[in-house]
């Protein structure tokens, strides 16, 4: 392969123009002929059974084509791999807002209107929706407890210890593009236009649920309007669109409203995290217990691994990580940006700050003192770990030396000013992915088409794959066309869990190497300097050539512990009278292996940071325990940060050359950007005000 020219440089987003001109096609942007519109209707109880559904009035609405409920829906495979159930398979209600039917009509407005005329009667049973009341009954979860040494014994005798509860509320993903599907049947085959973070996963779960063969399902998802985990596993909308389309023998468009997003596509669960930390007087950690109590669906478990950061961040001889869970009548939680790590790091990194304060140590020094030489959870060596560099570089760049160790003393007018730091980590992995490269020569120009069932959530997949292929083939960006987001293309990993870039780019890179080797062999010549694939196409006068690569993660990678690390620095201003907090400056220093494109990477990191700030200060979904419904039902109630909430955002990447996790040395940046952020803000608030808030979000009422 030729020396990198384009990877590592801030190439503009390839799909940028399409997006700002409105030409990028999202799930419902396909002008399908003869399309009908479906609208879901939902249960208004959290537990019980439907005793009667009367669709008479709905069917009278002009334009209405069909009302589909469990009474007439076809039998589906409920264990087919979709998340959250709600497939209209029976009268049982497991959570408030479970889909109970679909109205299909000529227009969206007709369908929505008619859906409100369907009369539903229930037999209500007692719903489990009040976490505070139920938490004492939590049971062990499938996540195994992890024990090392004897936390209790050490904790009780330690010189310095803290034992605190940190709570994080239910949060929602709320991508800009609500979940939506267009289903088009042609004979036995169905095409589903549907935003999918895992193209092949969407294909197999749709096929399994519909009881048809995978090759009869095509997923089309070239652009995704965000997902943050909620479009990883797929939800009922994917298959219900197909069911409706089959039943009325027409293409069907099914889109969720923002209000419906609260109980249709998962959520980040509420977590109560108890942390016990003990250290000796020199600041050496002695014990760490991280015990999470949370909730899952009434009949299905999903638990965020909140203890993950605590497993690897610090050297500590005695450790306990445990999970307890309460099945509740709330939709099943799911992966949400930085699953487990973003929430877990809030607890751990707040606690570290609290203990450092007790020890009268600088929180950075405290962390440096407890830096582990190898992964404490499994004894494996690090493939690389640059947390120390993140902290030191960050401290310098941020002006950490200007921070007063004593809280509540830095003031400007009516504002209390504070600095906070907190760290994070996320594992680095490569997953099996394939790619096809097609080279086409026209005269003295060579063009490449790269094909892969990869996903671009708006993260930059198109751009980094274009850069990778251009470098690997010896072509300019303009001669590379990347085609992704379609299950007809070679299978690939999902854009989830920070595996996308490593899995996709390594496969494309290896495909470039392979095609170059094949062209060399075809030429039958020896070259002094290895030519590029593009040069070979020209010198050998080949018109068209293609190859396919099925890439695997490198052997031996498992012998190491491979992670990204970061250090986050926040400067907050808290208004002394009103309790309103502004994050004036935020700096994330990240060591995440090779950065393929500093521009899209920065966007990824600050996107994560901003969500982390939202997690710290504003975001919360609230349930009324009398009904089990969310009372935060729109983006006017569920507060994601607005522009004015965000101050200066700075990003620094620490250089890292680590080819253990994969050949290109990519660690992934999608998740790590949010990890540690909420704690950095909460720690800064403590430094500003002397108030330690352990229950997110930190709204003004908590600070007055």
């Amino acid at each position: 392969m030729e020396a990198n020219k384009l990877t590592g440089t801030p190439v503009d987003r390839i799909d940028g123009l399409l997006k700002v001109t409105g030409k990028a096609t999202y799930a419902t942007d396909y002008p399908v002929k003869n399309m009908a519109y479906a609208y879901l209707f939902k249960s208004t109880i959290a537990a019980g059974t439907i005793t009667k559904i009367d669709s008479t009035e709905a069917l009278k609405v002009p334009g209405v084509l069909s009302v589909i409920t469990h009474l007439n829906a076809p039998k589906l495979n409920e264990k087919g791999g979709l998340r959250g159930g709600a497939l209209l398979q029976g009268p049982d209600i497991e959570f408030y807002g479970q889909h109970i039917g679909i109205v299909v009509a000529e227009t969206f407005e007709q369908a929505r209107h008619a859906s409100r005329l369907v009369k539903v009667e229930y037999h209500k049973s007692e719903a489990k929706v009040d976490f505070e009341k139920l938490k004492k009954d939590a049971v062990p979860s499938k996540n195994e407890d992890l024990k090392r040494g004897d936390v209790d014994a050490v904790f009780n005798q330690a010189d310095f210890a803290i034992d605190e509860l940190y709570a994080t509320p239910i949060e929602h993903h709320h991508p800009m593009e609500p979940h939506a599907t267009i289903a088009v049947w042609e004979g036995e085959k169905v095409t589903l236009y549907n935003g999918s973070q895992i193209i092949n996963g969407a294909q197999s779960s749709a096929a399994n649920t519909l009881n048809i063969k995978s090759e009869n399902v095509r997923i089309v998802s070239p652009h995704i309007g965000g997902g943050f985990g909620s479009k990883g596993g797929q939800w009922a909308n994917l298959v219900l669109a197909a069911v409706a389309a089959k039943m009325i023998s027409r293409p069907v468009h099914l889109a969720l409203s923002r209000q419906q997003m609260f109980n249709s596509v998962g959520l980040r669960q509420h977590n109560d995290q108890r942390i016990r930390l003990a250290a000796d007087k020199d600041g050496k950690l002695l014990a760490l217990a991280h015990q999470t109590t949370t909730h899952c669906a009434i009949n299905d478990e999903f638990v965020e691994p909140c203890g993950d950061c605590s497993k690897v961040m610090y050297e500590v001889p005695n450790s306990l990580i445990s999970y307890r869970v309460i099945p509740m009548n709330i939709i099943i939680p799911t992966y949400t940006r930085g699953p487990g790590k973003s929430t877990g790091s809030f607890a751990l990194e707040s606690a570290i700050d609290e203990l450092a304060f007790k020890l009268k140590m600088d929180p950075i020094d405290f962390r440096l003192k407890n830096e582990p030489a190898k992964d404490p959870s499994n004894g494996k060596p690090w493939s690389s770990r640059k947390l120390v560099e993140c902290l030191k570089e960050g401290a310098k760049a941020f002006g950490w030396d200007k921070r007063s160790a004593q809280p509540g003393v830095t003031q400007l007018g009516d504002y209390l000013i504070g600095y906070g730091v907190a760290c994070g980590t996320y594992p680095a992995r490569q997953r099996d992915s394939s790619a096809i490269i097609k080279l086409i020569r026209t005269g003295n120009k060579v063009k490449a088409i790269v094909e892969q069932a990869a996903a671009d959530l708006g993260t930059g997949t198109y751009t980094i794959l274009t850069q990778t292929a251009a470098d690997g083939l010896g072509l300019p960006i303009s001669q590379v066309q990347v085609t992704i987001g379609d299950s007809d293309l070679p299978p690939a990993a999902g854009s989830v869990g920070s595996v996308g870039a490593a899995s996709y780019a390594n496969a494309v890179n290896e495909a470039c190497e392979k095609i170059t080797n094949e062209l060399l062999a075809k030429s039958g010549k020896q070259f002094f300097v290895r030519p590029t694939a593009a040069q070979l196409m020209l010198s050998e006068g080949i018109d068209a050539f293609q190859t396919r690569m099925d890439a695997k993660s490198p052997e031996g990678a498992d012998a190491y512990s491979a992670h990204s690390f970061n250090a986050n620095f926040a400067e907050v201003w808290v208004n002394r009278s009103t309790g309103m907090t502004t994050v004036k400056r935020f700096l994330a220093v990240t060591a995440a292996g090779k950065i393929l494109n500093p521009k899209t990477a920065r966007s990824q990191i600050i996107g994560g940071n901003i969500w982390g700030i939202g997690m710290a200060l504003t975001e919360e979904s609230i349930i009324d325990p009398r009904w089990g419904n969310f009372i935060t039902r729109s983006l006017a109630d569920y507060h994601v940060p607005a522009n004015l909430d965000i101050g200066d955002m700075e990003t620094i990447f620490i250089r890292e050359n680590d080819i253990i996790p994969n050949k290109m040395g990519i660690k992934g940046i999608g998740e790590v950007g949010i990890v540690g952020v909420a704690a950095a803000v909460a720690n800064a608030i403590f430094n500003a005000t002397g108030k330690r808030i352990r229950h997110l979000p930190i709204t003004p009422d908590k600070l007055i």
Partner: protein, 335 residues
């Protein structure tokens, strides 16, 4: 949304006549509130009368009558042009601040002054047709009373409804002693003092204000005031923009040196209407403008509050907000 008829009207007369003969017709101005409510099935008009072409959209100096020297705001001029109008920025900067503290730039570009006064509460139980709500369906019960009432009233609520009125603009108008000018189908004009325009919920929470059926707001009049250089709008909210107030305060101080001739204070986010803090105003009259006096006045006002389960914080927050708003008003907005 339910099927509805869309009608376009050209004169105030035809608008009021149509609305008074069709009992289920509603005016459509900027549409930023009524269309959302129709999509949620909360508002169910069968006819919308588009009034955006009515010629009641200018902002001008009042040259005669009781408010002479003041400014008249057309009901259909939008929030953005109102906030940024020279006459408003110069003579009523409090109103500029209040309008700009509300919603987002895009919404303010659409939202009209009349629509702003008529916007409905943001109580989440009101917005969700599957919940009980006396305001939406009289007699169905109040979902918020025993529910999540963090955003709800601490003053003037009734056993029927604890909702707050969400407008920021209106809080400033309450301090500016505005009058609302309305027209009816008989071609008559009526003036309503702003503080009498909105009402407390009492037994009839379905009524937000005292506008009679068929009446159309044509203008809002602002009399001249003596506190333009000592006024401030403070909005405390859960995020820096695009959030409704937890508590807001509009404050104007008419000063003679350091002495308060008259203080005008209204609170938002605490009641079913902009809440004039008359007790605080009374206490400040003739007093020196000191932190201690501000504090005493704020305490006296807020100690009368009747908070609910989840909004106790509003009492303390209200005190602090009043003091800070008065402070800021003294210092002409910078501190």
């Amino acid at each position: 949304m339910r099927p509805f008829k869309y009608t376009h009207v050209n004169t105030v007369q035809s608008a009021t006549q149509l609305v008074s003969t069709h009992s289920n017709a509603k005016f459509l101005a900027g549409g930023t509130n009524i269309l959302d409510l129709m999509k949620e099935d909360v508002e169910r008009p069968d006819e919308l009368l588009d009034i955006t072409f009515l010629k009641v959209a200018d902002i001008k100096m009042i040259t005669e009558g009781p408010n002479k020297g003041g400014v008249s705001l057309g009901a259909l001029s939008n929030n953005t042009e109102t906030a940024n109008h020279e006459l408003i920025r110069l003579n009523h900067p409090l109103l500029t601040q209040a309008i700009l503290a509300g919603a987002s730039a895009q919404i303010r570009n659409m939202a009209t002054n009349g629509g702003n006064l008529m916007q409905r509460t943001r109580c989440p139980y009101f917005y969700d047709v599957d919940m009980p709500c006396n305001k939406r369906v009289p007699g169905s019960g109040c979902g918020a009373m025993e529910g999540i009432n963090r955003m709800h009233a601490i003053f003037g609520w009734s056993s029927k409804c604890i909702a707050v009125y969400p407008s920021d603009m209106a809080v400033a108008l309450a301090v500016l002693d505005a009058t609302v000018q309305v027209a009816n189908s008989k071609g008559q004009q009526r003036r309503i003092a702003f503080t009498d325009f909105h009402r407390l919920p009492g037994e009839n929470p379905e009524k937000d204000n005292n506008l009679l059926p068929g009446e159309l707001i044509t203008a809002i009049e602002l009399p001249p005031n003596k506190f333009a250089s000592h006024s401030y709008y403070l909005k405390v909210r859960d995020r820096a923009s695009y959030a409704f107030a937890l508590v807001s305060v509009a404050a104007g101080l008419e000063l003679n040196g350091n002495n308060i001739v008259q203080a005008k204070i209204a609170l938002g986010g605490v009641a079913h209407k902009p809440w004039r803090a008359l007790r605080a105003e009374e206490l400040l009259k003739g007093k020196e403008a000191t932190e201690a006096n501000f504090q005493a006045a704020a305490e006296a006002e807020m100690n009368q509050a009747k908070p609910l389960e989840y909004n106790r914080f509003k009492v303390e927050l209200g005190k602090r907000a009043i003091v800070r708003a008065l402070d800021m008003a003294m210092n002409n907005g910078s501190k």
